[in-house]
């Protein structure tokens, strides 16, 4: 499969008479966005706002972040099962991406919710989304709507807008074109066959309401582990429905830009033979955990891989899946490297994971989520400022007289992203 990713660089966002991309500026027409979403009667209203890097702006509570993308050539369209049809598969042809821009969805689904993006100040250092030009959608649901439906409405609205924005740049010539191509697994060249075979075991959050992930529109908790081509991931085959635990949720944006896949592609043909991705889930029953970890490792063995990288989403319950996958792979003679974040307590002295095993001898840490960070007051809050109070009012932090808040890193969107999206890490001292 071969995919060309046409990257149109966005350096700024502005309001405009019409939604368009011009000279690396994304112009947003509020009316167009609103009318796009007005058909959805699950919303009371949707507000649109803009947040640029460096501004004294706080966005809260963030639900998802999505990179604007659309297909310009090839089967289907991005986000199959939501935007694109499920006839055919994505991952081939050409896809356009507005890099440097993001759609941020913001909605109160629960009375408690985190997800802070600060566009400047110390909080901005921790979230990758302080560096993107953000189109923020603030949802207010109709009063009588059931929470599952509302969550679904928010999810789809974000995807719709992201797709819409990308289509507005279809005639802009890309600033960069990246090529992603993997040969059929069984028909690879002699040179490639000499290299160690590596697969990526991609664990998807699937614990239930507000903790879901969708693959081609299918709820990931209902899948058996299966194969997915890395290019399909770039085309939005994996969509986040996860609203809890801001720091280590894999936003749709991070799925679309999966850094592990990028890093494996970089070394493909040089040091490794990148075979592909196995997606598996993080269900709540032990039965599923046992079955799916065994099944995942069986797939890896069928592919004859020598090594795997395993990533998880979230903590606690998924730690058990992570360790099971690791143990079974190592026992099958497959070398593993895990990526995880830590919950080592505010002072870093506690046990980091809810499970451990001597087989997990190669672990990349993306940081401890518990330490406190002080966030100064911002000039403007986009979203629902009462959530700052809830988060701050003793829930996971504290509100100071000057309006600054002290929160655990956990409240910051993407701070300890477990796909290894940032340089954040922890070490023993």
């Amino acid at each position: 499969m071969r995919l060309e990713l046409h990257k149109v660089k966005i350096n700024d966002i502005k309001w405009g008479n019409t939604t368009k991309v011009e000279d690396k500026v994304l112009y947003i027409n509020q009316e167009e966005i609103s009318s796009l979403l007005s058909k959805d009667d699950r919303f009371e209203c949707v507000e649109v706002d803009l947040a640029r890097p460096g501004e004294k702006v706080r966005i809260v509570p963030v639900k998802d972040v999505i990179e604007p993308r659309c297909k310009i050539e090839g089967e289907g369209d991005v986000f199959p099962g939501f935007i694109g049809d499920v006839e055919g598969t994505v991952g081939e042809g050409k896809t356009l991406a507005l890099t440097g821009a993001a759609v941020v969805t913001c909605g109160k689904i629960m009375g408690f919710q985190e997800g802070i993006i600060d566009m400047s100040g110390p909080g901005a250092d921790y979230t990758p989304f302080s560096k993107t030009n953000n189109v923020v959608l603030v949802f207010t649901p109709r009063a009588d709507i059931e929470r599952h439906d509302y969550e679904a409405a928010c999810r789809v609205a974000g995807l719709k807008v992201a797709h819409f924005l990308a289509t507005k740049a279809k005639d802009v010539s890309p600033d960069e074109v990246s090529l992603y191509e993997l040969e059929e697994i069984t028909k690879r060249s002699k040179e490639l066959e000499k290299l160690p075979k590596v697969a990526y075991i991609y664990m998807l959050q699937s614990q239930g309401l507000l903790h879901d992930t969708y693959v081609y529109g299918v709820d990931a908790k209902k899948i058996l582990p299966t194969l997915i081509h890395p290019n399909e991931v770039f085309d939005g085959a994996i969509v986040s429905g996860n609203c809890v635990s801001a720091c280590d949720k894999n936003s749709t944006y991070v799925h679309q830009n999966n850094p592990v896949i990028e890093a494996l592609y970089k070394r493909h043909g040089e040091e490794i033979n990148f075979i592909g991705c196995i997606i598996t889930n993080e269900n709540v029953t032990l039965e599923d955990k046992k079955r799916n970890s065994s099944y995942t490792v069986k797939l890896a063995r069928m592919l004859g891989v020598d090594g795997v990288i395993i990533t998880e989403e979230g903590f606690g319950n998924p730690d058990t899946d992570l360790i099971m996958n690791c143990k079974k792979a190592e026992l099958a003679g497959i070398k593993t490297v895990l990526i995880t974040d830590e919950y080592a307590g505010r002072d870093g002295a506690s046990q980091s994971l809810a499970d451990a095993s001597p087989e997990a001898n190669a672990v990349v840490s993306v940081g401890n989520a518990n330490p406190i960070v002080k966030l100064p007051p911002m000039e403007r809050v986009i979203g629902f400022s009462e959530y700052v109070d809830i988060i701050a009012g003793g829930f996971s932090g504290s509100l100071k007289d000057d309006g600054s808040i002290e929160v655990e890193l956990q409240a910051i969107t993407g701070a300890t992203n477990e796909l290894g999206f940032t340089c954040f890490s922890a070490e023993t001292r």
Binding site: R267, G307, V363, G420, F421, E427
Partner: protein
């Protein structure tokens, strides 16, 4: 400003005497004593050693709480900005004293502290999380290396400067997870690590899992009919009322209890203090954890020589490895001295 530092040393380094003077009670002396001179030199002009605390190792070990209280009382009049203790090298009791004192002073007086020890000093395992302990060699030969590092660590803390990695600063890794930014993203580090692992090259995990050491099996008992067998349990079975006040978890002590003349454990005589399981069953019949009744029967029948008239009890729940090791060593020593030939250790 010049910081005021107090230095703690034991009777030996104070030139009072060796083992025979280890019962020396705490005492505060004006200015530097013994290794304090080198410490003062290393501190330079930024800090002055205003006083030296001296205490015998046995005295401290036997009156730990009292000694700490007394020393803190003595310290307060000197308004110190920091405490430096040791180096204790590989001296066990001296290390424990330095550790306990630093821990108490940092918590009660809220001032920076530093001590120094050989990594295998038992106090290291117990205090490393709470204290900066400079790594030294096993004997006083390492004094010259240790003192400047201690001075630097205490000055950095006094000046509020952040401390670097253990290997840069010379302290023993505390086991504290500290957030950092590395120079490459996590995903790339993971791929690097996997490639190294696949090639069989060395790689460093960023989150080490706990490790365990092994001991070769002890030789078998040759003549069981003459063997003296001891019972040990980590199930927390103690005489009713828990006379030694052994903790329900993260225990810092173990108990030694007589079973001479006892045929059976009953709810009236014994109970469990273990916090890691439902105590109902063990409290209803402590023999379910420490099988004294059947052991006595077998002793009478001659299935083995004799039952040792003491048993040892600990709580295996969350007890730090260093303590468990220390308990093990002490119990082993006592059992050896009592000519015990074999041990039945019951765990829950």
């Amino acid at each position: 400003m010049t910081y005021r530092v107090v230095h703690y040393i034991n009777q030996f380094f104070a030139g009072i005497g060796g083992e025979e003077r280890a019962d020396y009670p705490p005492e505060l002396r004006e200015g530097v004593v013994g290794p304090g001179q080198a410490l003062q030199a290393a501190l330079g002009e930024e800090a002055v050693v205003v006083a030296t605390l001296v205490c015998g190792d046995d005295y401290f070990a036997e009156h730990a709480e009292e000694a700490v209280d007394k020393i803190i009382g003595l310290l307060e009049s000197y308004r110190p900005d920091a405490l430096v203790a040791g180096p204790a090298f590989n001296a066990g009791r001296y290390g424990m004293a330095c550790g306990a004192l630093c821990d108490a002073v940092s918590k009660k007086l809220c001032i920076p502290v530093v001590t120094a020890m050989y990594p295998e000093n038992p106090a290291v395992e117990i205090y490393r999380k709470d204290l900066y302990i400079v790594e030294t060699s096993d004997s006083a030969r390492g004094m010259r290396d240790a003192i400047p590092k201690m001075a630097r660590l205490i000055l950095k803390q006094l000046n509020g400067e952040p401390l670097g990695r253990p290997e840069e600063e010379g302290y023993i890794e505390r086991g504290i997870r500290v957030n950092i930014f590395r120079d490459r993203i996590g995903a790339e580090r993971a791929v690097d690590m996997l490639i190294k692992k696949l090639k069989g090259e060395d790689f460093a995990t960023e989150y080490p899992m706990p490790s365990f050491d092994r001991v070769p099996p002890a030789p078998a008992i040759q003549n069981i009919r003459e063997a003296k067998i001891a019972l040990v349990t980590s199930g927390g079975i103690v005489p009713k009322g828990n006379p030694d006040r052994i903790e329900a978890s993260s225990a810092t002590k173990y108990g030694e209890y007589s079973i001479a003349g006892l045929e059976n454990l009953t709810p009236e005589t014994h109970e469990t203090v273990h916090g890691g399981y439902d105590p109902t069953y063990a409290n209803d019949d402590p023999d379910r954890v420490l099988p004294l009744d059947v052991a006595r029967e077998l002793e009478k029948e001659g299935a083995f020589g004799s039952l040792h008239d003491k048993y040892y009890a600990t709580v295996g729940n969350g007890t730090p490895v260093a303590y468990a090791k220390k308990f093990g060593e002490e119990i082993a020593k006592k059992l050896k001295e009592a000519d015990v030939d074999g041990v039945i250790l019951t765990s829950t």
